[in-house]
């Protein structure tokens, strides 16, 4: 088993990396959107540090999941709140763990139902490999190569903590 993961240290790396990425790509007036729940926790910490002009957006992708017919409705769907116009904006989408890419696929579909962004870039705390879709993060706090049956779980919001869990057949999108 891999060494313990320090959520705060990874958050520092992600904040630094994202700051450099934003400076280098020169996209004007970007906005930040966190994916419920873990991604929103990460975004809440990144947002005040990186000089975004608009308030933080929050996206709940449960109405866009591809597994409704298999596992049904999440019991606690939270409202999506995007307190700005999407059209023509540069969006930084934030999630906690990037695995199959299905959550990000759902988030992109939902974003595009609000309007037509100029661009969307992905920032994640951990890229743990195992992609099933052509999706990649622009910035990651760290990159791991975990076997399929191994998972990383973020708990929070206060304090943020990361733990390894092992479960058979679990996939991103089937959030417990």
């Amino acid at each position: 088993m891999s060494a313990a993961l320090d959520a705060d240290a990874l958050l520092e790396q992600l904040a630094t990396g994202l700051g450099q990425w934003l400076a280098a790509c020169r996209r004007p007036d970007p906005v930040m959107v966190g994916i419920h729940t873990g991604g929103a926790w990460i975004a809440e910490r990144l947002h005040p540090r990186l000089g975004f002009r608009e308030p933080l957006g929050r996206l709940d992708i449960n109405f866009y999941r591809d597994d409704f017919t298999r596992i049904g409705l999440h019991p606690q769907v939270r409202p999506t709140r995007l307190p700005f116009e999407i059209d023509g904006r540069h969006i930084v989408l934030v999630d906690d763990i990037l695995h199959t890419g299905r959550t990000v696929r759902a988030a992109l579909n939902e974003l595009f139902d609000y309007g037509r962004p100029a661009s969307v870039a992905l920032a994640v705390l951990i890229d743990r490999g195992g992609r099933e879709l052509p999706i990649a993060a622009a910035v990651a706090g760290t990159t791991l190569a975990l076997p399929p049956e191994h998972h990383v779980k973020l708990t929070g919001p206060e304090p943020l903590a990361l733990a390894y869990v092992e479960r058979g057949g679990g996939r991103e999108g089937e959030r417990p």
Partner: protein, 323 residues
Amino acid sequence: MSAALQVDAAGRLRHFLDVEGLKRQQLVEIMDTAESFAGVADRSVKKVPLLRGMTVVNLFFEPSTRTRTTFELAAKRLSADVLNLNVSTSATTKGESLLDTLRNLEAMHADMFVVRHAASGAAHFVARHAAPHVGVINAGDGCHAHPTQAMLDMFTIRRVKGEFTPLTVAIVGDILHSRVARSQIHALNTLGVRSVRVIAPKTLLPPRVEQLGVEVHHDIAAGVRDADVIITLRLQRERMDGRLLPSKHEYFQRYGLTEAALASARADAIVMHPGPINRGVELDSGTADGPRSVILQQVTHGIAIRMAVISMVMASHTGAAAS
């Protein structure tokens, strides 16, 4: 009988037939889910892909405009396909022909029936006889129940007032024939309001109405005193024929909601009506269009509540249980 039929072993809604028998937490879950759907109407694309490829059949044996169109809009905003069937029928339930209708629609791979019928218990009957993969929602059965109307009213009250426990709610009008009132009384008591009052002439109250957990008034000014919420009910035209009421003018004189009658209610009281309103019968135009009226908000909230109930029932019929 509803509880066993509409809730599965895991506590999920298999059908939505009646508010009676549901627990407070289940009513709160319906409202919380509706809250997350409420924002969909404000977006440039007013729909989510949740129920793509599923078919909802609106099976209306009784005429309706508002309820049917909001159910249709709710299903469409969930990306389901919608079939509207307005089936004319005699007043009595023809069990055989109804079953034949069901079997035919099931053969067309319907996933859900939204049923309105003039006979009490019709939606329960459909739920008992529908195929296992089909969910049933009661859109009003006779004088029995209209649970989605009650839930959109609860959702409206929650959005305006916040908490239920400190509230005094007065329901004015034809309690005897009102499936809306019956479902509202169950919902309000389950959600723990301080008190529910009914205000009506004796001829429009069911016998032993107090057993539903309500305070009975025959005078509107006394009935709305210090009320936080006043719900007026539609007076069906066939009730105005003189058998139960002398005339609609006299009804308005004694039970119509006016600004004068509202004077004894709380200053921040809200006025509700399930629609369609008879101006000058249940309430006057000044009140219906006034600042306390939330009647049009009720219509808007009806879409979010129906999206919530449709998706929750549909979810309980999907393959495996939620992990």
